[in-house]
Symmetry: C2
Subunit: 269 residues, 2 copies
């Protein structure tokens, strides 16, 4: 089998979603930024039916951080978003939380699956990275071969039932003369976080050190580049950590579900 | 107290949302089209906590017919959408369903309220009628002083859990030369049903007789006018009728919650 780490950036971009999912299903682990160019990537949150209303309401009240692409019925593992696939195996790596504490980082959910689990598929900003690149805006974490840096902020999400927590953001450094373009381009993708929530001045978000992200990897920020922050689909996992439900499962941040939906499907004029 | 039926169209339009809600709270009943110009009106669906996830998922999967403006937590009766008001009294008339069958049409919910009831406030196409009128497109049911005609169609909503049913549409006859304008104007209001779902040819929607709407009143269609159909927030009530939950409560069609939100708040560029 192809060793995923040995693929060039171009080879990763050229994989079909089904090919990429097959490699992850076989147990290989890597952040998915740059994979399957042109296809939407997605965050995951899986909770029991009991908690599902609160999670869906949390998403409805926080559309920038939790844009819902699909919801699977209790126990359902297949979806047209991952044709022929299985939500329990097709993500590179999962985080399992019990009472808000991460207890495992498995590469599949075979030991954890229950028939009352409801899967939320949530938009991911990786989706608009192809559009940034096509427009001549380079994406630092892809170029540097690392995971995107993500930060918990001091901005609170709107709470819903038992779900409350901080907004999590992803950060991409952008040259000052391209920041407006980055806003314009990403605002056309409201279903995958859309326009930035904050530009420059990380201190206002309560981020003390860009070099120490809460999730993912730090990236080098070249002189003159502005840190630009987008709402991040790890936000519901941060709420899980605070709200401490008996069981919740997310993706490992940056290790997304690669869907069969085209990026362009989520683009508005 | 002002008798609501005696108010002129101009007087109805000039009422503040709080004034209009106070009249309805006092037990007066009238369709709300044309009231409180410039303020958003809303559909209602109230279900038990048990059914709430299925309803919210139904709304998420049918965004054109069920655009969510707000969701109240179980037992909650106040909302910033109706400042100082009470969801149990401020709608002119309610429909109460038991096992999918309408059993009462009360003007308040004092006899029906329970602490496990979850209220969904759903966008309503009355919201964009001010914009149509401002742009020189007259709205037949306002001019004719009747309720908007609404029809069950043969188009199925996407189902969610136990919730399934037909899409319901509202109809406004528009002069042929203004249909494109009506599309353009209403498409700017995606949170309140947005662009029409169908233009002309009611037979394709399974509507045999425009003169016999399933809800509301028939309107006269002048020669040369085209029937234009918008997705309607009565759609979840039609799903309740099919899905037969033990208890569900809606507004009487056309008798909406008048909110404090400005129409313009739901307008996109």
């Amino acid at each position: 089998m192809t060793r995923i780490q040995e693929l060039s950036l171009a080879e990763r971009a050229a994989l079909s979603p089904a090919e990429a999912r097959a490699l992850f299903r076989a147990g290989q682990v890597l952040p998915t930024a740059g994979f399957s160019a042109g296809y939407a990537q997605a965050n995951l949150l899986i909770v029991t039916k009991e908690l599902a209303f609160d999670v869906l309401l949390f998403a409805q009240r926080n559309p920038k951080s939790c844009p819902i692409l699909g919801v699977l019925e209790p126990g359902q593992v297949a979806s047209e978003l991952l044709a022929g696939g299985d939500i329990r195996t097709d993500v590179p790596q999962y985080f399992v939380y019990e009472n808000g504490v991460k207890v495992a980082e498995p590469t599949d959910l075979n030991d954890y699956w229950r028939d009352d689990l409801v899967t939320f598929i949530i938009g991911c900003s990786f989706t608009f990275e192809s559009a940034l690149i096509e427009n001549g805006i380079s994406v630092a974490h892809i170029d540097q071969g690392v995971n995107v840096p993500m930060y918990k902020t001091t901005v609170r999400s709107a709470s819903a039932g038992v779900m409350s927590g901080p907004m999590v953001v992803s950060m991409r450094p952008i040259p000052a003369h391209q920041v407006a373009d980055a806003v314009r381009i990403t605002s056309r993708y409201p279903a995958v976080h859309g326009a930035p929530v904050h530009i420059g001045n990380p201190g206002e978000l309560g981020i003390a050190d860009l070099g120490a992200p809460d999730f993912g990897d730090p990236v080098q920020i070249p002189e003159g580049y502005i840190p630009v922050f987008w709402a991040c689909g790890v936000t519901p996992q941060a709420a899980v950590m605070e709200s401490k439900p008996l069981l919740a499962i997310g993706h490992a941040p940056g290790h997304m579900l690669i869907t069969d939906a085209r990026d362009s499907q989520y683009q508005v004029p």
